[in-house]
């Protein structure tokens, strides 16, 4: 009798342990599946500072992401069928014109990597050669609006926020409840599908999304060609670079005006020259 009771207790105990183990295994698998669930969103990016409309090069872009991090890339050779000429002149709706010299795309493109655990962004762009910046995630104080619209098969909600001198409207979807977005825009309760500033000088538009996806595009740290040096510059370095270029450009313009005997040129306005103006 005692032996039977001991046997029963032993089996019950084992059953309880097994049950707990199964529950633990189930939640671990769930967590793993959620973390591993990967998505890819395709966008178009038109950057046209000073043009008062979306009138710059229209480049393909994609954002690949999971629960932990995201990777955005545009101006990448492999994403463009027709590479832009070395010099292109774009015309806006209001007689503004701009000339871009130098190729628009590169092997690795302009990239933004966002890691949620580290709460930081790493990014690269062309600025007389490739520059590489690491910064704490910029906090955008988004104001959520009640307005909604359909983008693709998604219900998108409107939000408005300021980021480096411009006021952006972003459309995000709660159907993909992750805080990512194209370029450096992030921090909403759902994936940003479309975003633009008031003048549409930075215009990011939605093309398609696969979530979940089996696409093999890696969610990688910013990649760089072999010849580029290692290391990262700060956001303050970037601001200094931009400011310095404005002073240099203005000084050249004054010299040219003196040579031509024309009027002294107006000083360039930071916000009309660069998308991120720090003012």
């Amino acid at each position: 009798m005692l032996k039977a009771m001991l046997h029963f207790i032993f089996i019950s105990y084992n059953f309880l342990i097994m049950k707990q183990f199964c529950i633990l295994l189930f939640f671990s698998l769930m967590n793993f599946t959620l973390q591993a669930q990967k998505g890819i969103a395709y966008y178009g990016q038109i950057k046209s500072p000073g043009m008062r409309s979306a009138s710059g090069p229209d480049l393909n872009a994609y954002l690949v992401f999971n629960q932990e991090h995201s990777y955005y890339v545009t101006a990448k050779d492999s994403l463009e069928k027709d590479l832009y000429d070395n010099q292109s002149i774009f015309k806006g709706n209001n007689e503004q014109q701009v000339a871009y010299n130098g190729g628009k795309t590169t092997r690795y493109g302009q990239q933004v990597y966002y890691n949620r655990d580290k709460d930081s962004l790493w990014w690269s762009q062309r600025f007389r050669g490739n520059i590489y910046i690491a910064e704490e995630r910029p906090i955008i104080e988004w104001k959520l609006q009640s307005e909604t619209k359909e983008i693709g098969n998604f219900k998108a909600h409107k939000a408005i926020g300021n980021f480096r001198g411009r006021t952006y409207t972003a459309w995000y979807t709660l159907q993909i409840p992750l805080p990512y977005g194209p370029w450096k825009l992030q921090g909403l309760p759902g994936l940003i599908l479309e975003a633009y500033d008031q003048k549409k000088e930075m215009y990011l538009y939605f093309k398609n999304v696969e979530y979940p996806t089996t696409n093999e595009a890696p969610i990688s740290q910013v990649r760089r060609p072999g010849g580029d040096p290692d290391g990262w510059q700060t956001i303050q370095d970037f601001e200094k670079m931009e400011r310095k270029s404005l002073v240099k450009a203005y000084n050249s313009m004054v010299l040219r005006a003196e040579k031509k005997g024309t009027e002294k040129p107006k000083k360039p306005v930071f916000q009309e020259i660069y998308i991120e103006s720090f003012e």
């Binding site: 043009m51 979306a54 002149i89």
Partner: protein, 58 residues
């Protein structure tokens, strides 16, 4: 009726204000107004001719 609608649509979308952004590759299309010049992502100043824009980046 269908033809009229198609012609109307062509007419509307051909109107300059609908043209939006466009690449102007022919220098003769440019007005004499200054335009911003960027060399490899860096603002270089204002130019009034394509040649001047090219020179600014060299």
């Amino acid at each position: 009726m269908k033809k009229v609608l198609i012609l109307a649509a062509i007419g509307i979308f051909s109107f300059p204000s609908f043209a939006g952004s466009k690449i102007v590759k022919n220098a003769s299309n440019l007005k004499e107004a200054d335009f911003a010049v960027y060399c490899d992502g860096v603002y270089a100043g204002q130019a009034s001719t394509v040649q001047e824009a090219l020179d600014m980046c060299n």
